[in-house]
């Protein structure tokens, strides 16, 4: 029904297109076309990711060679923040904070879910566009504005926010405690407020589109796993981001209106504050109520993309399609009741802690199901190792490697000694950071032909993959051992250990040098990607209709983008998206819009 009604609308739209040429502004800037908005998200996120990566290299240099003068630092930070090429303590915290914020929110939330939800939801569902093109445009421009504010905060005189990406008050509430908690923190809060608005508008749009605009025959259980992942991600976003907004608003009140939500009995900078009765733990509960689902907001789209890429390039149906949907739903549900595992040693009631141990470890079950399903999909496949496929396999590897250390950290008794050490940093960078980044790269290599109508260079893609994989493991593997040795995160200089335990200090410093060298290596490797990406947009070979012989609907649209996606009628779906190498078929793939042959059974 819905699709029929929509079809009429699409025809109108298409007709309009002929006698109304779009101008530059409505086509490239204030575009309401989901494909263009997806590309806008991608470009902005790639730029933000680049900034965050450079920030990380800056502080990695300080960690590997503490106190040594570096021209690289003075070049980027100037005399103000790196006098004589030595990073200032406050700016170190600023770099760490903004690196985390940008990577988690702007690259992996905006960039991953924003780009691919926008691009793929209408295309894979057989819809003309998002439910609301205007809201979709608004979502991007809010994202753009919040990115801009976050970048501006790097340039204010008192420095950017410096309380870590989790901005725990009272540190983030008191400008007397650290210089970044002045204007920098205010900008951070405003930027995130706008970001949350962007995310909410976007997510609501995704949900409505998935529920209402599926083409004829596209039942929920015929949707590609990408769409399932985006759908659940959007629901998580809608339910959890408002809680972050409330946390941020209360913090704004404490900072600007003199309230005491998070402040109690404080003397700072020689000044006795009258605030009484607030609780810093309240903030932590609110923050992590978003913070933990956020991990899955980042991870689920990557898992969805990789499911699609792996099935296509293994030339096999994804193993256990229904179990994959079930585990996405289970992960989504459980992600809301595990937030306390970030707070085992914060003074939270220990009994509550034990409840969170239980729920957290439960999440390992659907995660294990997903991993084994991936492995079985590869088993007896006929693997085509495109760069996208390599990244998707890399994702499964990092998902395992980072996931198993989560089992240790979820165990409250073991978390006591590891909480806030580099072991945690290694854990979440591998399981969340690398997995999501690999998923994103996989997605870009796989759907680049759909986005730009051209192909990326494959050899450069291979080079990029290998540098990234080796670099990523080279950075984060040794980090576990720095953490096991007891190195707290967010330390400016680990030589403070030398005084009381020189052996351990030497070990930390040795490993830090190794980590930084790998980090620089991996960062340089991203230049290959940037070059390949931008060069191919303009000069890559023209893409064929269906470059990867894939089943999903996006490959039935013309290579040259048109408004409304399909020039004629919308495709009708007759089968699930994973009919690869089906016995009895002529080809090793059967697109979703091909009717069942006589006597053929659905999977």
């Amino acid at each position: 029904m819905a699709s029929v009604a929509h079809e009429g609308h699409g025809h109108d739209h298409h007709g309009e297109h002929h006698h109304h040429e779009e101008n530059f502004i409505s086509k490239y800037i204030f575009s309401q076309d989901h494909k263009m908005i997806g590309k806008q998200f991608l470009m902005t996120a790639v730029f933000m990711g680049l900034v965050a990566m450079i920030l990380s290299i800056l502080f990695r240099i300080q960690l590997a060679w503490p106190g040594e003068s570096s021209d690289f630092l003075s070049f980027f930070l100037g005399e103000r923040w790196a006098p004589n090429g030595v990073l200032k303590e406050d700016m170190y915290l600023g770099l760490v904070t903004i690196h985390g914020t940008i990577m988690v929110f702007f690259l992996l939330t905006g960039g991953l879910s924003g780009t691919f939800s926008n691009l793929l939801i209408p295309l894979q569902l057989g819809a003309r566009d998002m439910a609301s093109g205007f809201l979709n445009m608004l979502s991007y421009w809010f994202f753009f504005l919040s990115s801009l504010l976050m970048l501006v905060s790097l340039f204010v005189e008192s420095g950017p926010a410096m309380a870590g990406w989790t901005i725990y008050p009272p540190l983030s509430a008191l400008p007397q405690a650290v210089s970044g908690s002045g204007l920098g923190m205010t900008l951070w809060l405003f930027s995130m407020t706008i970001f949350i608005a962007s995310s909410l508008i976007g997510s609501l749009n995704y949900i409505v589109t998935v529920i209402n605009l599926r083409t004829q025959g596209m039942s929920m259980t015929r949707m590609p796993l990408t769409i399932w992942a985006f759908f659940v991600t959007a629901i998580l976003g809608v339910l959890s981001f408002p809680v972050l907004l409330s946390a941020a608003l209360l913090l704004v009140m404490d900072r600007l209106a003199g309230t005491s939500f998070y402040l109690s009995d404080i003397i700072v900078g020689g000044e006795m504050l009258a605030n009484h009765g607030g609780s810093p733990l309240l903030y932590q509960h609110l923050f992590w109520f978003l913070g933990h689902p956020e991990v899955y907001i980042v991870l689920l789209p990557a898992l969805g993309l990789s499911s699609e890429i792996i099935a296509t390039n293994a030339r096999k149906p994804i193993f256990g399609y229904k179990a994959m949907i079930g585990s996405i739903l289970a992960i989504g549900f459980l992600s809301f009741i595990v937030w306390g595992h970030h707070m085992f040693v914060t003074g939270m009631n220990p009994f509550l802690g034990s409840v969170f141990v239980f729920t957290t470890l439960l999440i390992a079950i659907p995660s294990a199901v997903k991993v084994f399903n991936y492995l079985t999909t590869l088993w007896k496949g006929s693997l085509v190792l495109t760069p996208a496929m390599l990244f998707a396999i890399g994702l499964v590897s990092t998902f395992i490697t980072g996931g198993v250390t989560g089992i240790i950290l979820a165990d409250s008794a073991l978390d006591i000694a590891l909480h806030d050490t580099y072991f945690v940093v290694a854990h979440f960078h591998i399981v969340m950071g690398m997995s999501a980044v690999f998923g994103m790269f996989g997605g870009v290599y796989h759907w680049f032909p759909k986005m730009f109508g051209r192909m990326m260079n494959m050899r450069l893609g291979y080079a990029h993959f290998w540098v990234t994989l080796i670099g990523a493991y080279g950075v984060f593997f040794p980090m576990h051992f720095v953490g096991l040795a007891g190195a707290p995160r967010r330390y400016y200089d680990y030589t403070v250990y030398a005084e009381n335990d020189s052996v351990t200090a030497d070990m930390m410093l040795d490993l830090n040098v190794v980590i930084t060298i790998f980090a620089i290596f991996a960062a340089l490797g991203q230049l290959i990607f940037l070059f390949n990406f931008f060069y191919s947009i303009f000069r890559g070979p023209k893409a064929p209709q269906n470059p990867w012989d894939s089943n999903t609907l996006e490959w039935t649209t013309p290579v040259e983008h048109v408004h409304g996606n399909w020039p004629g009628a919308l495709p009708v779906v007759h089968r699930w998206p994973y009919d690869y190498s089906k016995p009895g078929a002529d080809t090793d793939f059967i697109p979703q819009d091909v009717p069942l042959a006589e006597g053929e059974e659905e999977h």
Binding site: R315, N457, L484
Partner: protein, 411 residues
């Protein structure tokens, strides 16, 4: 100068590399007529082999790192509780390392083995309920074991301490730690942050400290009377912002003053004794084999007391008391031998971001055997809070002086 030259050379080389890349790209694009979407069997096999090679490198790297660094940094656990959690950690490590090897092996090996071969079709295998059941139930059983063992240990670690446990408070502020021992009565004196003065940095609650805090609030360097004087002075005119700032400060201080006055009215003098005998130190000295009940307090922002060698940690939160417990099981001397480092010292580090000098916030911890600890404790007998608050010669007259100041100010 040299470095700048190097940076310049790197930039030039980078530019050349990119130019070369473009050329390679264009030539390869011409050579490969397939338009970048067909993976050749050669590329496919090469990447499959590289995947297997990478797996071997990953495993070898892991084993090397584990052997070289796995336990060197931590050293053995220096508390009874730490021994328990280390045992559990090792068990968990065995489990997760097995999973890590097993699943990563399958992943890379399948990638290597099932790479496309001409003429071999993929096996259509959409699902198998029995298999899916197996890998739901088996992880669930393993996790049940992990959860049960973990929660047993956790419950031990957070259970209340015995009566004989020695009570110590760790007071944290940007950027140092202070230890407060409960003294003879093993009861920590009460405190209230409003009582903080130069002489009473830990804001302990006694009749005298209340009086001096009130005095300080009224007549101190930035006390109420001074602000009132400034505001009431007809000869000076403040600009708006200064005047607003002064008035805000005044109303805040008046509020604090009222609260202090209330505190004075409700104060139970019997509580004084438990504070007077407390001992305040900037090194933490502990006794081997003795259980400790440690209270934590923060003055400004959140800090975290991290005893990495004891495997103990707890946050100190402004406005909210927190607690931890542990029983040191190795003296500093024993640990020096164990780590083969005569200069080693236990350290208490701050492990919650707390400002610019966060990384420097630490305190030395000395663990002594019973005899040495008792001797140390004896030497501190005459250094209680009372002894320090009323320095020896002036001891009898000090409270009177305070009271006198109190009366003068009331007039």
């Amino acid at each position: 100068m040299e470095n700048k030259l190097i940076i310049l050379i790197v930039i030039i080389l980078g530019a050349i590399a990119i130019a070369q890349l473009v050329r390679v790209y264009e030539i390869s694009a011409k050579l490969r007529k397939n338009g970048e979407h067909e993976v050749t069997n050669r590329d496919n096999r090469l990447n499959a082999r590289l995947m297997l090679g990478f797996m071997i490198a990953l495993f070898v790297g892991f084993i090397y790192l584990m052997a070289a660094y796995g336990w060197t940094g931590r050293g053995e656990a220096a508390s009874l509780e730490g021994k328990e959690t280390d045992w559990l950690l090792n068990l968990n490590f065995v489990i997760v390392i097995l999973i890590f090897f097993f699943t990563n092996f399958l992943l890379f090996f399948f990638t290597f083995k099932y790479v496309r071969k001409p003429g071999v079709k993929a096996f259509y295998y959409p699902h198998n309920n029995k298999l899916e059941m197996i890998w739901t139930v088996v992880p669930a059983i393993v996790l049940a074991v992990i959860i049960i063992l973990g929660l047993q240990t956790w419950n031990d670690l957070v259970a209340p301490t015995d009566k004989e446990a020695i009570r110590i408070e760790l007071f944290s502020k940007q950027f140092d730690w202070t230890a407060r021992y409960a003294g003879q009565d093993n009861t920590l004196g009460k405190y209230d942050y409003k009582l903080t003065t130069d002489k009473n940095e830990l804001a302990l609650l006694t009749s005298n400290t209340i009086d001096s805090a009130i005095n300080n609030m009224l007549n101190g360097l930035n006390g109420i009377s001074r602000i009132q004087k400034l505001l009431n002075n007809r000869d000076t005119i403040f600009n708006d912002s200064t005047s607003i700032a002064l008035r805000t400060e005044l109303s805040r201080k008046e509020r604090l003053y009222r609260l202090l006055a209330q505190m004075k009215a409700n104060h139970n003098k019997k509580l004084d004794a438990s504070a007077w005998d407390d001992i305040i130190e900037d090194t933490l000295v502990l006794c081997k084999g003795q259980q400790y009940e440690i209270s934590l307090r923060a003055k400004d922002v959140i800090h975290s007391a991290f005893f990495m060698h004891m495997r103990a940690q707890m946050n100190a939160v402004p406005g909210m008391p927190t607690r931890m417990k542990f029983t040191p099981s190795l003296t500093t001397e024993e640990m020096r031998k164990s780590k083969n480092n005569p200069a080693f010292n236990y350290t208490l580090m701050c492990n919650k971001i707390c400002g610019g000098a966060h990384y420097k916030m630490k305190m030395i911890v000395l663990v002594k055997d019973k005899a040495a600890y008792d001797a140390w404790m004896k030497s501190k007998k005459k250094e209680t809070f009372k002894d320090k608050y009323f320095p020896a010669p002036a001891a009898p007259s000090a409270p009177v002086a305070d009271a006198a100041a109190d009366t003068t100010m009331k007039n």
